[in-house]
């Protein structure tokens, strides 16, 4: 086990290095941040002077080595745009993204599981066919369309939910939370539903497929024939076995939702990391974008490692050699 974990960790570090290198190379083609930093009226000489001042005149590999060296010391550089440390800028936005992603994941998990079980019991009932058709819609509708439609319906026409922002927030230590006020929760509904939509469809289909397979197993037939209540058969015997893959996928998706909430956050002007990153890409703010991608990679890699380890603990049949 210990060697397995060590190996996974080493793999993780290699992936991080690769990710950071790709980021650096991409930035060669993303425009020149110095032009903005020197100001609109700067002369060619002044532009070169600014380039030197920020060390951007060095060749890419030198800049990259410098970045890695600083990153190892916990310094991810200062944003070119707001001139404050990039890591702080991103972490400041973390609570907003986390709350949105967690709510969306919970929502999709609860609904996906519930609907999935319901659908699997009577797959051919018309209302269940409708749910399945809806889930297909959920998978195939792009997030920006869902978001804009929800805003049009609930904010513009019905006027019952706010269209943007986090509303009233409460700060506890460094964590700025919108979950503790009614206004904050009202602001959370539309973006969370938008973000949950895709995940919900995936979890629903996964639960349904698993349940249909398990329900035909012999031990379920035995359970029925023992005369157990249907609640016990479905939830205790069948669903528990389906849960393993569903939990895995939900966990993995949580990492993705945090990393990819860019579209939802932009539509709803949600002050999270995704929103920051999109702005930073447009403004060629290399330190912020690279730091963010590294951070996202760290999150996804660690979730993967944790899931793998949990697997081994949950199911002793799984061996890692």
């Amino acid at each position: 086990m210990a060697t397995y974990i060590a190996r996974r960790l080493i793999q993780g570090v290699i992936v991080l290095l690769a990710v950071s290198m790709i980021c650096f190379l991409i930035f060669r083609y993303m425009g020149d941040p110095v032009l903005t930093m020197a100001g609109r009226y700067a002369t060619q000489q002044e532009i070169e002077e600014v380039r030197r001042a920020f060390g951007l005149d060095a060749p890419t590999h030198v800049q990259y080595a410098r970045f890695i060296w600083n990153a190892l010391h916990g310094n991810f550089g200062k944003s070119y745009v707001s001139r404050v440390p990039a890591l702080g800028l991103i972490l400041e936005r973390f609570p907003a993204t986390f709350e949105l992603a967690a709510t969306a994941t919970l929502l999709s998990f609860a609904l996906g599981l519930g609907l999935g079980v319901m659908v699997s019991l009577k797959p051919y009932a018309w209302q269940n066919r409708l749910v399945m058709a809806g889930s297909l819609g959920g998978i195939s509708t792009p997030t920006f369309l869902t978001g804009i439609l929800l805003i049009m319906i609930f904010s513009v026409y019905l006027g019952i939910l706010p269209p943007y922002g986090r509303g009233e927030t409460v700060t506890i230590g460094f964590w700025r939370s919108g979950l503790l006020t009614l206004d904050g929760i009202r602001h959370l509904i539309l973006p969370a539903v938008t973000l949950a939509m895709f995940q919900l469809a995936v979890l629903l289909r996964l639960t349904r497929a698993g349940m249909r397979e398990v329900l035909t197993e012999d031990y379920i037939k035995t359970a029925w024939s023992k005369g157990l209540s249907s609640r016990k058969v479905i939830f205790k015997h069948a669903l528990r076995n389906v849960m393993i893959p569903v939990v895995t996928v939900a966990g993995l998706q949580f990492g993705e939702v945090i990393a990819y909430s860019i579209v939802t956050e932009t539509i709803f002007q949600w002050p999270g990391m995704g929103n920051l990153i999109l702005t930073s890409i447009f403004e060629t703010d290399q330190p912020v974008v690279v730091t963010y991608i590294m951070l996202a990679a760290v999150i996804i890699i660690s979730i993967n490692i944790v899931v793998d380890i949990l697997y081994a603990l949950l199911n002793p049949k799984i061996r890692y050699d």
Partner: protein, 509 residues
């Protein structure tokens, strides 16, 4: 008995106080803007979106007021320009910064010296042109420039004065997020990505602003900004896109406010020797082939005004006698034939697709119009972060760009976009198609040494006419229109500024 009476009296007093407090109770306004601030350091962002925020927390030595943006005193009560290189400012007395520090000449000196530090300033160009800042006494400052800068005073509304003591003593990171200025508003809270809350400065030297609390919410997505307005969550919205103009106008609860923007959109065209466009007849033909009226009607949906030159009317150097060449595709074909290009030629048209109103669509339309007279246009539109470096490198032939000059001075603009590229002098840095004409360069350089503003204005007008009529340095298209929307019937008094800044002391309700 006595105590009940006392209680009653107290209650009445309290009621009176509360009642009296009610009307004076803070008025509030919520504004949804299209661009968030990058930082709260007034020199670190020279974009108008950034300066628009800073103008509320800080003051310049001078300010811009009124519909045409006339130069008016601010932290300087008056100024003198005794010779070509010297600018003398007499400062206002009794002004204090938000932290209570008094404003004086040391702060002005500190501010101007800070401009040339690339770590904190994007006004490096302004900073580097300054030779020295001399403190004569606490309220008099003499600034000497290295070369004659005729528009120096015209720039003073965007150089915001910082407090020397607190800027030096605070952590540099803190300076980036907490503004301490002399402005009409103090920052209450800035939650990045969410809102900027500000409150009126009761000790403001012009008097406390009419609206006590301002909440600015940057919303980049235009449809969401529109939703914020319609759902009543914002009182004023900036940057209404032309495609949302009709729905906003139809909504009975909303009112659209528009004003001609200062920014003109035009096509820059190089004149490299041997290229077809070096021939004035070809330049004329390309100008005449473009149906600008149709662009305004179909693409800008009526929200633009045709332009015959680059500067807008309030700019020094604007020449009202310059006329657009008429739309005449037949005449264009004839001119092309005369020049020996009866079968046309090929040219690449570059431009940004995320910078100006409908920029990519305008470029597409231009390509189609030129195709009709036989000129084959290869279209190359791309994000501004990639397009603008190409302009700076001067490697383009033909491109769409927009311009307006914050100093209201055409001379500065022309040195940047019309003068031949000259790295040593720092001229022509944004002359992306490397246009070059010796006569124009010479006339332009001569304007820098004219002391008399009236005479200088006249020379600039002459220069402008020469550039637009004799040389056709650019093909002008139109002036954009700035569109805002406000809640109707709420008593909001708002007249947009020419520079698009949102200066809240000018708004009342």
């Amino acid at each position: 008995m006595k105590s009940t009476r006392m209680t009653l009296a107290l209650a009445i007093c309290l009621a009176l106080v509360l009642a009296a407090g009610a009307p004076a109770m803070a008025s509030k306004i919520v504004v949804a803007v299209d661009t968030p601030p990058r930082m709260m350091n007034p020199h670190g962002d020279d974009s108008d979106a950034g300066l628009s925020f800073m103008a509320n927390f800080f003051d310049g030595l001078l300010q811009r007021k009124g519909a045409n943006g006339e130069l008016a005193p601010a932290l300087a009560e008056r100024w003198e320009h005794p010779d070509l290189l010297t600018w003398k400012f007499y400062l206002r007395k009794g002004v204090t910064f938000h932290n209570g520090n008094p404003f004086n000449a040391a702060d002005v000196k500190f501010t101007f010296e800070r401009l040339s530090n690339p770590e904190v300033s994007e006004f490096i160009n302004t900073g580097k042109t300054i030779e020295s800042v001399e403190v004569v006494d606490d309220y008099t400052v003499v600034i000497k420039t290295k070369q004659p800068i005729p528009w120096f005073a015209n720039n003073m509304h965007q150089i915001f004065i910082m407090d020397k003591e607190s800027t030096e003593s605070r952590d540099p990171g803190d300076v980036m997020v907490k503004p301490i200025g002399t402005g009409a508003y103090k920052l209450v809270e800035w939650v990045k990505g969410s809102y900027i809350k500000m409150e009126g400065n009761a000790d403001y030297w012009e008097g406390a602003p009419p609206i006590q609390n301002v909440e600015v919410r940057p919303i980049k997505e235009s449809s969401t900004r529109f939703a914020a307005l319609v759902s009543g969550q914002a009182d004023i919205v900036t940057g209404v896109p032309v495609e949302l103009f009709e729905p906003v106008k139809k909504n009975p609860k909303l009112e659209v406010v528009s004003r001609p923007a200062r920014r003109s959109i035009f096509l820059a065209l190089g004149n490299k020797k041997g290229s077809p466009q070096a021939d004035i007849r070809v330049r004329k033909a390309m100008y005449m082939a473009i149906n600008e009226d149709e662009i305004i009607e179909k693409i800008m949906r009526g929200h633009a005004a045709p332009a015959a030159q680059v500067p807008d009317p309030p700019t020094i150097g604007y020449n009202g006698t310059i006329q657009r060449l008429p739309y005449d595709p037949e005449g264009a074909k004839k001119l092309l034939a005369e020049a020996g290009y009866a079968d046309g030629f090929s040219i690449k048209l570059s431009g940004p697709n995320d910078r100006y109103v409908q920029d990519a669509k305008i470029a597409e339309a231009v390509a189609k119009y030129l195709a009709k007279v036989g000129i084959k246009v290869e279209l190359d539109v791309k994000p501004k972060s990639i397009f603008f470096p190409e302009v700076t490198d001067g490697i383009l032939d033909f491109y769409l760009i927009g311009w307006f000059d914050g100093t209201f001075d055409m001379g500065r603009t022309y040195f940047k976009i019309a003068h031949s590229r000259d790295k040593d002098q720092g001229y022509g840095g944004l002359n992306g198609a490397a246009y070059s004409d010796a006569g124009l360069d010479k006339l332009l350089e001569s304007t820098a040494d004219i002391v008399d503003p009236a005479e200088r204005g006249k020379t600039l007008q002459k220069l402008n006419k020469m550039a637009m009529e004799d040389l056709i340095v650019w093909i002008p298209l139109h002036y954009q229109e700035d569109l805002y929307a406000i809640q109707k019937g709420q008593g909001i008094q708002f007249s947009p500024r020419p520079d698009r800044w949102m200066v809240y002391k000018e708004i009342s309700r």
